[in-house]
């Protein structure tokens, strides 16, 4: 059946897959959000150790999802991979840098003779959770606000600013999206810790922190949403592929596609519900609703950028260099082959879920940190 799919269907399927991986990543940034709580929520080394050990069992999933996001875009939309990574060089390099320093920090923080000292590794985790996520948000923002680049007839990219992508963070829309993601990650991080840790006073503080972060996230979310509804968008002509600016483009995409609208509204409701039961009803399972809500909102945002003849990586400098899911994708053959590969994704998700259940059936306690396996702990 997959062998008979036409090119355009495959391009849509792969935008959905890329969007799903991207949205799952945003959910999994509860790890990064949790890392930023390290300096405010815990009041003792023991509480800090609980948080680190709880997050330390999940950080690799987030990390791997980011790597897969890169790999999937490379395989399915290589022109985006080449244009954005090669063009917006600095913003991606700095993002990667924050993930490099994250990767060693859990393992090395408490080990004797760790050369840089625990505080440095904790600072690394904070930088990853704040600067890293902020820049990712700013980079995703350019899916709507556009970047300054041009492509020649051989599709080689020339970036028009010396800031190489960092200019994205100077745009209020992109900055707001980045800050929203930072605070949302903190909300999710707090919810995850509440679910994963058995320590009343610590989780109570997490509940307060979740509410504060949620309030902080609201103005940025509202700014992003309102702008999305009214801003000019980069439309592509279905006949010629020509790119032109259209007012209210994303509003049209939203109204024109009830699925996207449904995802957005449902996602927002789930997040609000999760915050409510976490902060005011004393429930521990908010992370699941908050996580699902985040994934749904993420999908809606990526669909707005990519579907309905829209340029998902627009160039504000040279409209015709903008990338759409049609002109940036791999060949029909490669997308078909990769779709067969993607059939394994449900299987991968299933074993991740199974292992997660096995590992998290008992919540983490201070007693476990001091058990016979203490030397394995972070």
């Amino acid at each position: 059946m997959i062998g008979n799919l036409d090119y355009s269907t495959l391009q849509h399927i792969w935008w959905i897959i890329a969007s799903l991986v991207g949205s799952l990543f945003i959910f999994l940034t509860f790890v990064q959000g949790g890392q930023t709580l390290l300096f405010t929520v815990p009041r003792s080394d023991e509480e800090k150790a609980l948080i680190i050990n709880s997050l330390g069992r999940k950080w690799e999933l987030t990390f791997t999802t980011l790597v897969l996001f890169g790999g999937a875009l490379f395989a399915a939309f290589p022109k985006f991979y080449a244009t954005s990574f090669g063009g917006a060089y600095w913003v991606w390099m700095l993002i990667l840098f924050t993930f490099i320093i994250q990767a060693v920090s859990y393992e090395y923080r408490k080990k004797p003779h760790n050369f840089l000292g625990s505080t440095t590794y904790e600072a690394f985790l904070f930088v990853n959770g704040s600067v890293g996520i902020l820049l990712i948000g700013a980079a995703v923002g350019t899916f709507f606000t556009g970047s300054s680049f041009s492509l020649n007839q051989y599709n080689q990219v020339t970036w028009q600013t010396p800031y190489r992508g960092l200019e994205a963070a100077r745009n209020l829309f992109n900055l707001s999206l980045g800050l929203f993601l930072v605070f949302n990650a903190r909300v999710l991080g707090a919810m995850y810790l509440i679910n994963n840790i058995d320590h009343k006073t610590l989780t109570d503080r997490c509940r307060k922190s979740a509410w504060k972060s949620f309030l902080w996230s609201l103005p940025f979310l509202l700014y992003v949403l309102v702008n999305l509804l009214f801003m000019q968008g980069y439309a592509s002509s279905p006949e010629t592929g020509e790119i032109f600016l259209q007012s209210g483009k994303y509003l049209q995409n939203l109204i024109g596609n009830p699925v996207t609208l449904g995802l957005l509204l449902l996602g927002l409701l789930f997040v609000i519900y999760a915050v409510n039961i976490t902060c005011f009803k004393g429930k521990n399972n908010g992370i699941w609703f908050g996580g699902l809500g985040t994934v749904l909102v993420g999908l809606a945002v990526f669909f707005l950028a990519g579907f309905n003849n829209t340029a998902f990586y627009p160039s504000s400098y040279d409209l015709q260099s903008s990338l759409t899911i049609y002109n940036a994708s791999s060949s029909h053959y490669t997308l078909t082959a990769m779709t067969y590969v993607a059939l394994s994704v449900p299987f991968v998700l299933a074993y991740i879920a199974y292992v997660w259940r096995q590992m998290d059936s008992k919540r983490l306690t201070i007693a476990e940190l001091k058990s016979e396996n203490a030397e394995e702990m972070y």
Binding site: V67, L73, P78, Y81, V104, E107, F115, S344, V355
Partner: protein, 511 residues
Amino acid sequence: MLEQIDLTQVNWARAQFALTAMYHWIFVPLTLGLSFLVAFFESIYVRTGNEEWKRLTKFWMTLFGINFAIGVATGIIMEFEFGTNWSNYSWMVGDIFGAPLAVEGIFAFFLEATFFAVMFFGWNRVSKGFHLFSTWMVAVGSNLSALWILVANGWMQFPTGMLFNPDTARFEMQNFWEVLFSPVAISKFTHATSSGFLLGSLFVVGISCWYLLQERHQTMAKRSIIVASVFGLLSATYVGFTGDEAAYTVAQKQPMKLAAMEGLYDGQTSAPLVAAGLINSAKLPGDNQQPFAMEIKIPGLLSLLANRDPGSFVPGINDLVFGNRQQHIIGAQEKIEKGKIALELLRTYKEARKSGDQAIADASLKAFGDYQENMGYGYLNSPSEAVPPVGIAFYAFHIMVVTGAIFPLVLLLILYFQIRDTLAYQQWLLYLGMLCIPLGYVSQQAGWVLAEVGRQPWAIYGLLPVTVANSNLTSGTVMTTFFLFLGIFTLLLIAEISILAKQINIGPEEN
């Protein structure tokens, strides 16, 4: 396409890629080998129920974890660096090259990431059996990720299963299986992973030798030595076979790399292998100088290695640069001329398409078909540019082989004395066992230097030189990130070694 070349920038980008890849490869082979060794140790624990084996497993697992973390840290940049620094490459071959990277993420990285947490924190949370299964899954996942990245690298060395599409100006995949089962990909995978098993074994044996010298943790050390030296010996044998296969595929698919790594300028029948030699660095293709200041040769061996026939002809650098009619070899000189025509025809085709002149477009496309095979050579300016750095390739190859030949001998001796239970008295051998750890790392690095330097000047062998594959960045930008990576990776490496040394000094928990 040519006017944008900034050589300094290309070289900084190459330096950065080399830096990040070499750092990454410090940690990867140990992960490949030690993951299986830990799985063996834990399997013995589960079968025997002996708590000492559990303590032994946990000790090596701790070292594995310290190494794994920095392997992950240095790895993420590799996934994105193709895009950031080699964006033209990423566009031109993303249709083929992106696939294995994505498959690696789906099939391999999630196995590692998911089961790693069980391996370290699941001792009391899951059953014994499921824990063992998880340890095995981490080993399988690590080695699967090596498979996919080596498929990608194999494709750069020997591009196959694709066609050039002049409309999109890129190569497009025609056959996924040809890419996956390319002989170069297979020989790279088997050679690189088995060398990782060997390094893991040397690491375990070397540290255990140190304990024996220190007269500490002797039971644990002896047990580790038995398992690791057997695994190491089997792996070393396999490394030898796959190395022979790798050299054979290089000879068949990348004759210029073979000529460079042997310093062979004039091709000959019954070509001898230079077992050791001192390269004459002033030597250029086509001149009358001797390629070596001094050398030791083994007659006929290179022909045997390259073509499995001691009497066969092996082309040298001069044959490949200037051509050799007798042997039906087209030289780089002629390929460059054809390549320039191909590029000109492609340009004409694209311009005709743009201006809507279908007749010219059709004619130039048809003519392009006759020349496109050599299109990559059209980017070179002189035939000597087609020659990789001979000295580096030669020394890297010989360092790899010579060190590689020492390991099985040392392991065999260690195993022999261990079986007779007199190893602890052979001080010289224990020191030699320890020395094999740094030598193992040198051998590993030399192998990759040969693979990648020998590929020069190509990003994709014969199709796309590195000078055209790069991103349009200023050299200052790339220089800055080069030093950023140099700084952070060096800091992290110091931290890693310091932590490892401390953990080794503490040693396993004793009863």
